[in-house]
Amino acid sequence: MLKCEVQEPGRVEYASAFELQQQLVARRKAGAIPDQFILLEHPHTITLGRNGHLENLLAGHDALSSAGIAFHPTDRGGDITYHGPGQIVGYPILDLREWQRDVGAYVRAIEQTMIDTLADFGIQAGRIPKCTGVWVGGSKIGAIGVHISRWVTSHGFALNVSTDLRYFQYIVPCGISKPVTSMAQLGCDASWAAVAERLAAHFGRVFEREMIPAGVLACS
């Protein structure tokens, strides 16, 4: 079975995490490292996808900075989203040529990883056709936005564990005016680390990878 290294660098600024991803993508393309699965947390950040619509950002830049929220346009798919404490952000750096050359299947598999993880905590989550992401009832709990270069993936997903959902009021998440939710709001008091552990396990199962701790990799 192919190996996939798991890294959990803790709370990382968006820009630093982006740089880390780019380094890993370059090394993955060169075949210098196996697939990577990074699980981390961002400080309060709003990011806008390449095809995002700025009108889905409901607050001005002044309002954002006074609320202590960073803003980053970025090169992933999807629209606008919020990252912050209590949310698990997953960045799989995968060479899809060694899995399936199918971006649709990739997105569905990422959704499955989150759905199976939530099920472990007694939360029944699912999909809504043509609204990519993971949903509980009509509320979004997991968001997805991916970038692919030469079949190597970057960016990934965000799962709300105990995210302060009030921060989503600054945006129309993913350009869809549907509510967001978190595991905590659904009455689940699981810790960030416990959920991260299950995410890595399900990721390994869904993608058929042996999940191993990362080697020595500096997080700049």
Partner: protein, 463 residues
């Protein structure tokens, strides 16, 4: 000249949006250098150039969504010494599909339809359809397979775990050459085969202004027709369905499978409504800037029917009946290549003016694709106005998970018998398709009769 095509990014993905050109026309590109970016559902992908050369033509602009295998650009591999603008005209005839007029204006037609099956296969990095055999392949094997156009599924691997090795490929190539004395030309020379065909066909079909298609009569048979050539005019054309088309197809079939469809038809005397409409038409146009149609009257009458028989306003979810307290009426709107059903919310709270305004607004924005997702959701009943296209009676398909849909036929002046005398009345047929799982025929007809009664005895003086 190498065609750059929209790659297939996955089995279920039939189109992509070209979000960004990373090179401009006239720029030099290297093979495998990122050339453009595309976006599919939540995924942005950089697409590398399939060849080295000069980007001679950009055929699809940023922001456009096109089907897979659509040619989005052309790369001139001949070094690019000549200015970019001069390239297309000079290079065009060689790649002209047989039967196509050679005027550049037509040749450069960038409509996806004209381009689908023209040109060499897509870059090997993103194979379009040919599934690769399972098991890892070395870069050398990949490259050889690409250069000699070998379908790797037809090659038996003798390496570890059935892996295909260089030797396997060499053996395969040798066997192929034994089988056919004329060596299979590598892809690059395919263009050179085309020119001989040009004089033959150039004389036969008259110059046409439109690309050849089913609309033009078939050209007279060519004596001693040359064998079919790559890039020749095919008898069929394959076009992947758009995402919207696929969704419509799935939705329609799912509805047919789900509901027990029955259609009942009632004849409605629209004379009173027609008079009312005639009386207000001119004022309406000058006051509100839109024409007054029959549709808002029908919606208003439908609301009366739904209030009286609220089961028609319900939906079914498994074995549960969902009763809706709001009356949200979906209006089917025909688009250029499909249809969409935006919803008039709380239709029971609107008069004819408000309904007409909502319908015009939703239809206009549907056609310019400016509807918000929530504006096509939450309908509790639907109306489809095929009468607008001249149809008198049709049997509509229910818009799931609703339980009924009302089809509105054309209003026509018809001789009818009233009190044993023949009179001219404005007559329309209403076709109600209902789900017999929930709605029985008697109820369906009571409802339709109620709608008919509201229209025939139109009593509201206020629009």
């Amino acid at each position: 000249m190498t065609d750059v095509v929209m790659p297939q990014m996955g089995e279920s993905i039939v189109e992509g949006t070209l979000t960004k050109w990373l090179k401009k026309a006239g720029d030099r590109v290297e093979r495998d250098e990122p050339l453009f970016e595309i976006s599919t559902d939540k995924v942005d992908t950089e697409i590398p150039s399939p060849a080295a050369g000069t980007l001679s033509e950009v055929l699809v602009e940023e922001g456009k969504t096109v089907g897979i295998a659509t040619v989005v650009a052309r790369i001139d591999e001949c070094g690019g010494a000549a200015p970019a603008a001069a390239q297309p005209a000079a290079a065009q005839p060689a790649v002209q599909p047989v039967g196509q007029d050679s005027t550049p204006a037509v040749g450069q037609d960038s409509s996806p339809a004209a381009d689908v099956h023209v040109g060499p296969p897509p870059p090997a990095e993103e194979p379009a359809v040919a599934a690769e055999p399972t098991g890892p392949l070395s870069p050398l094997v990949r490259r050889m397979a690409r250069e000699y156009s070998i379908d790797l599924n037809k090659v038996k691997g003798t390496g570890a775990g059935g892996r295909i090795t260089k030797q396997d490929l060499e053996g395969h190539i040798a066997r192929q050459q034994d089988a056919q004395p004329a060596p299979a030309p590598p892809p690059a020379s395919a263009q050179a085969v085309a020119p001989p065909a040009v004089p033959v066909q150039a004389a036969t079909p008259p110059p046409v202004q439109t690309p050849p298609s089913v609309q033009t009569p078939p050209p007279a048979p060519v004596p001693a027709a040359p064998p079919p050539l790559p890039g020749g005019q095919a008898k069929t054309r394959i076009e992947p369905m758009s995402t919207m088309r696929i969704r419509i197809a799935e939705h329609m079939l799912a509805s047919r499978r789900t509901s027990a469809h029955v259609t009942t038809v009632h004849k409605v005397d629209m004379t009173k409504v027609a008079r009312m409409r005639d009386r207000h038409k001119a004022d309406f146009q000058s006051n509100y800037g839109m024409s007054l149609t029959y549709l808002p009257f029908v919606v208003r009458a439908t609301v009366v029917g739904l209030r009286t028989y609220p089961l028609l306003n319900a939906s079914l979810e498994g074995n549960n009946i969902i009763h809706h307290n709001e009356i949200n009426i979906g209006i089917a709107v025909a688009l250029e290549n499909g249809l969409i059903v935006p919803v008039v919310r709380q239709a029971d709270e609107k008069n004819v003016l408000g309904l007409q305004r909502s319908i015009v607004d939703l239809a206009t924005r549907a056609r310019s694709r400016q509807l918000k997702p929530e504006e096509v959701q939450g309908g509790t009943f639907s109306i489809t106005n095929f009468g607008g296209f001249g149809s008198v009676i049709a049997t509509p398909i229910i818009n799931q998970p609703q339980v009924a849909i009302l089809g509105v036929g054309a209003v026509e002046k018809t001789p009818v018998v009233i009190d044993d005398a023949i009179a001219i009345r404005s007559v329309m047929y209403l076709s109600l398709s209902f789900d017999h799982r929930l709605i029985d025929g008697a109820l369906a007809d009571q409802f339709t009769a109620k709608v008919k009664q509201a229209l025939e005895g139109w009593s509201e003086e206020v629009l």
